[in-house]
């Protein structure tokens, strides 16, 4: 017995999958411009709907109630999370969803193996090998994403740790997972048959590996981790497609794999660090910094919102550089209001956004868009750097390492060679920060001690709001 559409030739199903694949590709193409991006997302969702609907109608469904219940529960949870989430919690939510996709892939591959053994169809090498890969990638994605989301949500400590014990555990788990995979391929019925124990052994090992991979990675490196796990969840889906011989799984999974990988590479290049260094390096927290002379001593000038207002009064061009501090304080609305006020008074205002500012790729852009900042105002590093010399005032809010000139001047610093926003070129710089404490890299920032720099101490939201109020009073 087959499903509702089961009487039709197989090519109909394949054709529906082709349509879905084309819709996914077109959906991503529309993402290349903000104007068409919403439509693109819709097109991609339509592709997903077609693929799922045809699949449900095509295959023999022995337990339609189980399936319907699962779809309703999953859809309900997903919609509820999406509707209730705050913009500031977006990185952890994206991480969480990611993990679910990877986890599902691992489970599907496992269920398929269990099913094949139970029905006595045997396990061909092509199936077991790809199932092993899907299981490893899927489990690493699931647990890695959970830890990443936990870190972003503040449930797991987000300081970087580098320990040799950790490296050993990772190596042992990887070897164990691979051994499980080999056992699965060589001897599918290994140790007692139906339940495919070697697969579940592999899942446990890969799960521990996923946890230990992400736990030591610091909060500011999360953009790389989230992008990489995104790539993995796609690859897990693609390999599951190999297990099930499903074309649309392969195409869609590969697209996501490519997308995540490209974002990962962009993030790494923006920090001038290799992926290996991000994953295994454990940056920051070095004691050697304590030996350096205190560069801040006597060189820090503190300012007030009133003084900043006077600077802004005579400015023709202002660039605002946001960082993770803006996201933490939820200062994006105050910042956007300030930009709007300045703009209304004829000041040229732009935002200079570093690719790794925040906790996921494009984090600052998403926050500013939420606060109604036009996307034409958000400038990338290469675009905005040449304009700083013609800029009167730069306001840095909640950012540190991404404006640290030591990246260009000190070859021994941990951020050497990292492209930074050269805000020092501007006539004056106002840095809004809670204290002089170092950023993620653990090094001091000579920018703060420069003559043209003044410090506006305080929480980003409170400071920006006060600045807005003072500016309004003096218009």
């Amino acid at each position: 017995m087959a499903g509702v559409l089961g009487g039709l030739p197989d090519s109909v199903l394949q054709f529906a999958y082709l349509i879905a694949s084309v819709l996914f590709i077109q959906g991503l193409r529309d993402m290349t411009h903000p104007r068409t991006a919403t439509r693109g997302n819709g097109i991609s969702a339509l592709g997903m709907f077609i693929a799922v609907a045809v699949t449900v109608l095509w295959f023999e469904i022995l337990s339609p109630l189980v399936l319907a219940a699962a779809l309703l529960v999953g859809g309900g949870i997903g919609a509820w999370l999406a509707v209730t989430v705050e913009t500031t919690e977006m990185p952890q939510l994206v991480g969480l969803f990611n993990g679910f996709g990877g986890g599902a892939s691992a489970l599907v591959a496992g269920a398929e193996l269990v099913d094949l053994t139970a029905t006595g169809s045997g396990l061909p090498v092509g199936v077991t090998a790809t199932a092993a890969i899907a299981g490893i990638i899927g489990s690493v994605t699931f647990w890695g994403s959970l830890v990443a989301a936990g870190k972003l949500h503040g449930l797991v400590g987000d300081s970087p740790v580098s320990s040799n014990v950790g490296h050993v555990i990772k190596a042992v788990c990887l070897v164990a997972a691979l051994a499980g995979g080999v056992a699965l391929v060589v001897q599918p019925g290994f140790a007692g048959g139906d339940l495919v124990p070697s697969y579940w052994f592999l899942i446990v090992a890969a799960s521990i590996l996923g946890i230990f991979l992400v736990v030591p990675i610091g909060g500011a490196d999360m953009p790389v981790v989230i992008a990489l796990l995104n790539s993995y969840s796609g690859l897990a889906a693609a390999t599951t497609g190999f297990v099930l011989n499903n074309t649309v799984l392969i195409v869609a999974g590969t697209l996501v794999g490519a997308s995540g990988l490209i974002l990962t590479v962009i993030m790494c290049e923006s920090m001038n660090r290799s992926l290996t260094n991000v994953l295994f390096g454990g940056l920051g927290g070095d004691d050697e910094m304590a030996d350096r002379p205190d560069i801040y001593e006597g060189n820090i000038s503190e300012t007030s919102p009133e003084e900043v207002e006077m600077l802004l009064d005579v400015a023709d061009r202002v660039v605002i550089v946001p960082g993770y501090g803006m996201a933490v304080a939820q200062a994006q609305h105050a910042v956007a209001e300030l930009a709007e006020l300045l703009e209304a008074d004829g000041v040229d205002v732009e935002f200079g956004i570093h690719p790794v500012a925040g906790r996921m790729p494009g984090h600052m852009n998403a926050l500013l868009a939420e606060a109604d900042v036009p996307y034409e105002k958000m400038r990338e590093l290469e675009e905005v750097n040449p304009t700083f010399s013609q800029t009167d005032v730069v306001i840095v809010t909640g950012a540190n390492d991404v404006v640290n000139p030591m990246a260009n001047t000190d070859d021994s610093s941990p951020i050497a060679g990292m492209p930074v926003l050269e805000v020092g070129e501007a006539r004056s710089v106002v840095v809004n920060k809670r204290s002089l404490s170092p950023g993620f890299s653990g090094i001091p920032n000579p920018l703060f001690a420069e003559d043209d720099t003044s410090m506006l101490f305080g929480d980003a939201k409170a400071s920006m709001q006060e600045l807005v109020n003072v500016y309004k009073e003096n218009r």
């Binding site: 799922v52 699949t55 023999e60 699962a70 779809l71 997903g78 969803f97 599902a104 490519a258 996921m360």
Partner: protein
């Protein structure tokens, strides 16, 4: 479908993905991630088949959990991207 045919698809899709994704501006990287995320929920197809047709209770149970997880991924991912993209496109007016 043979393994090599599957591999052909994989390689071609990787090239298409590379060409398209490199053209997406930094502005849209967050919605791209959550949108791509939703697409990776395509593994739901596999889950649906396994959950609905599992010949053993274990396979059905695994399939059930997989369907729930994949659906959360798909529905949540598309909705989150939609809300975010809405905020970007409002600026045009």
């Amino acid at each position: 479908m043979t393994f090599v045919q599957n591999l052909t698809l994989f390689v071609l899709a990787a090239f298409v993905g590379y060409e398209i994704i490199t053209k997406i501006p930094t502005n849209l990287h967050t919605p791209l991630m959550s949108g791509a995320n939703a697409i990776s929920g395509i593994t739901l197809l596999g889950s649906v088949v396994v959950a609905g047709s599992g010949s053993t209770a274990l396979a059905t149970a695994l399939g059930f959990v997989a369907v729930v997880m994949a659906t959360v991924n798909v529905v949540g991912g598309y909705l989150v991207s939609h809300f975010m993209l809405d905020q970007f496109s409002q600026r045009g007016k």
